[in-house]
Amino acid sequence: MSRTSHRLRYLRIAVAVVVLAGFTAAFSDFRNLLPAGLASGLGGTQLVPAFVALLTGSAFALGGVLVVLLTLLAGRVYCSALCPLGLLQDAISRLAALVRRRPPRLPPSRPLTWVRQVFLWGTVAGVLAGWGGLTLALLDPYSNFGRIAATLFRPLFTLANNSLVTVASAAGLPGINRIELHWAGPWLLLPPAAFLVVVAGMAALRGRLYCNTVCPVGTLLGFVANRALFRLKLDRSACTKCTECLRHCKAQCIDLRSGTIDASRCVACYNCISACDQGGIGHALAWNFAPAWSTPETQLVGDPLNPCRRSFLASAVGAMAAAVVPGKLARAAAATIEEIPFLVKAGQDSSAIAPPGASSVAQFLDRCTSCQLCLSACPTQVLQPALLEYGVVGLLKPRLEYATAFCNFDCVRCGEVCPTGAIGRLGPEEKQVVQIGIADFYRDRCIVVTNGTDCAACSEHCPTKAVSTEPYGANLRLPVMNRELCIGCGACEFACPTKPRKAIVVTGRREHGWARRQVEKKAVKPRRSDDFPF
């Protein structure tokens, strides 16, 4: 009679499927069919964005605190149920396993403690030194998933939709619509694609190797999990050393010789519980708040942070010093982050335009982890990932690109979905006066002047009438700019037909401002009579 219990594993899989599907849908929602609450709700469960929101005070997000408490209770449940990058790896290793039929038996391995420490402390040091916007963006697993999904999945889903339209219209079925396909440029496509290839390779060959070596969230939660109230425990009296659990363990964290499970690397997938015919693995209440490594029999098990106190101190201090000192010096040398050459582009005006709600470019670059959820949610796709427009720290963070679209006047979706609060929530009324940039009109390039024909595409599109027209020449109308009313939405620049350079161009503001809201009296009828004028 089998004593195997599949319950926990099935529960974990059910949650994971729902969560991964939710994230994939939120990041691939090319028609904005899903409520903004789904995206922001899912983003709010993520450790790094929630902590950024809480610590910067940009939003009251308890997601991070709850995740830590959950981990303190039952280990790294987060990694197997809530982290989209972890779930993506599970999906990839599952596919790889289908190809291989029977999973290979991975030998238990030693934790790569030094590597884990370097990534974790490097990230922490980066945050302390004021480079959080860069280090978190590079290493946050959720943001890495987001970039893969927004850059690769969204266009693929759009492509699938469009193929479906072709089939449906051939069959005479109208109703679904072809959506404009946006692929990011090669340099923007490359980083997430390369990251995906590396992570997919690691996942296919070694399960959760990435999570247990590179991922700072995995290491941090491993540190907490080592002190968890409930930990997985191997019943040595039941164990027949059949190694079936090793075959199903994603983390290579089970050591049958010593009969221990490394809680710092266990991602709580519960495959081992399910795999063991003898019912030899289960949760046990750990009464001591001591990490597993303090038991004498451990050889392969280790606290990611504390292999021994001396090396912990040495590595922590070393890594912190290496990252914090130059970072602090650099920031001290420059009064603000923008003044550091190369890393952030200099100048009064920003060459990249930050989304409405960002308040300022500097604050935005500090808070955004470039998860690109806003890019996916943007109905006009005016939000595009930055390459070096903000400088190196702004790599892959959203900016407004007016060559292909403009910011919709009544839309506040990017702020609604942003999980870190880097893009603050604005009401529609506020959004309509937030000045993210100002347009400049270049008269000598304007069609009305160069061609002597009417145009006013800029004024036509302008939602605030910062661009109006005045009589010009013989019965023509020439654009005229009122900077006070301009919000920098880019509608004018997008619509301007001049080539090669536009006659009206928006320059971003480093510190976002407020445009004046113009109030006009009710319009009067051109004629008093109520009769027909013809």
Binding site: R31, N32, V165, P174, G175, N177, R178, E180, P379, T380, N408, F409, D410, C411, I447, N451, T453, D454, C455, A456, A457, S459, E460, H461, C462, P463, T464, K465, S468, T469, N475, R477, A495, P497, T498, K499, Q518, E520, K521, K522, A523, V524, K525, P526, R527, D530, F532, P533, F534
Partner: protein
């Protein structure tokens, strides 16, 4: 509709509209040449004069019913089995009360009339200025047209546009034009009347910029001439202008409802130049002040001089 009296009045007016149209439809189906009213384009006595119907002082649906009745009913334009395209102005992501788009009531009523006249299909689209789905939805037109039985087609699907030569165009010699314009049996042009910062006014002729793919070519080349040139390719079967509350400043998008005046007017004509000339006068312009009206009249695409037009006026209150 605030009171029971209003409701009954509107209901009666609607009912009257329905019955007349239905009769006209039956009649036309059997003998298309003879309809209840004078066929558009001719007058008794054989003198060819385009008909322009102008209706005032009622709700949009009643005015539309009246205008169509005066033109011989919808059956004079839509025969059973025909495919119909309705091109409203729904270019902007603003609600109906802002007057930047054709009112959904007009579009919905027209869809119902076409369906009742036996149209095989009724399609609605616009190549919008704001993001298309937001404009379709917030204008109220997508929902109203669908509920009335129309197919709402994506105007931002480039594969639906066909590069087409415009042999008689002066500046516009070729354009990517929506296939529904090229292929539909009946083409109903249903704009809203507005001020336009570049063209001074936008009504029936300017509304047709929403059937071509590359709007920037117009703006870059010669806005007014291109607007006139497109008419050499295909003119709408019928033009209907919603001038219930025209926008008189800050057009064509408008900033607030304060940009509108209440005229409670609706125009209908098969002559696109004549209807725009009348619309210009509603806004206090002389037709010749609007360059594309003057150019189109010069190209004999319609009558700018309303003296040469058979204007039929109806004041419903």
């Amino acid at each position: 509709m605030n009171t029971r009296r209003d409701f009954i009045k509107t209901g009666l007016a609607l009912g009257a509209g329905f019955s007349l149209v239905d009769l006209g439809g039956l009649f036309a189906a059997e003998t298309p040449a003879v309809t209840g009213a004078v066929p558009p384009g001719t007058l008794p006595g054989g003198v060819s004069r385009p008909v322009l119907v102008a209706v005032r002082d009622s709700d949009r649906v009643t005015m539309l019913n009246q205008a169509l009745e005066a033109l011989g009913g919808i059956a004079a334009f839509v025969r059973p089995g025909q495919t119909v395209l309705i091109k409203p102005n729904m270019g902007w992501d603003v609600p109906p009360e802002r007057g930047a788009n054709t009112h959904p009531d007009v579009v919905a009523r027209l869809v119902i009339l076409c369906r009742e006249a036996g149209a095989k299909s009724v399609s609605v689209f616009d190549n919008t200025c704001d993001q298309w789905e937001r404009a379709y939805n917030h204008s109220g037109i997508a929902a109203a047209a669908r509920a009335a039985g129309a197919v709402v087609v994506n105007g931002k699907d480039e594969t639906l546009y066909r590069e087409t030569a415009v042999p008689r165009g002066v500046k516009l010699q070729s354009a990517k034009i929506h296939s529904l314009v090229l292929d539909s049996d009946v083409f109903l042009n249903v704009p809203v009347l507005k001020h336009h910062s570049g063209a001074l006014m936008t009504a029936a002729m300017k509304n047709l910029m929403g059937v071509i793919w590359d709007r920037r070519f117009y703006h870059r080349t010669d806005l007014h001439q291109c607007i006139a040139d497109l008419l050499t390719l295909r003119q709408p079967t019928l033009n209907i202008i919603d001038a219930y509350h025209p926008m008189v400043r800050n057009g064509p998008r408008g900033r607030t409802a304060a940009d509108l005046i209440e005229l409670r007017t609706l125009l209908a004509s098969t002559d696109i130049v004549a209807i725009d000339a009348a619309a210009a006068k509603l806004l206090g312009h002389q037709p010749a002040d609007i360059t594309h009206i003057r150019l189109a009249a010069g190209m004999n695409l319609g009558r700018m001089d309303l003296e040469q037009v058979d204007v039929r006026r109806f004041k419903l209150a």
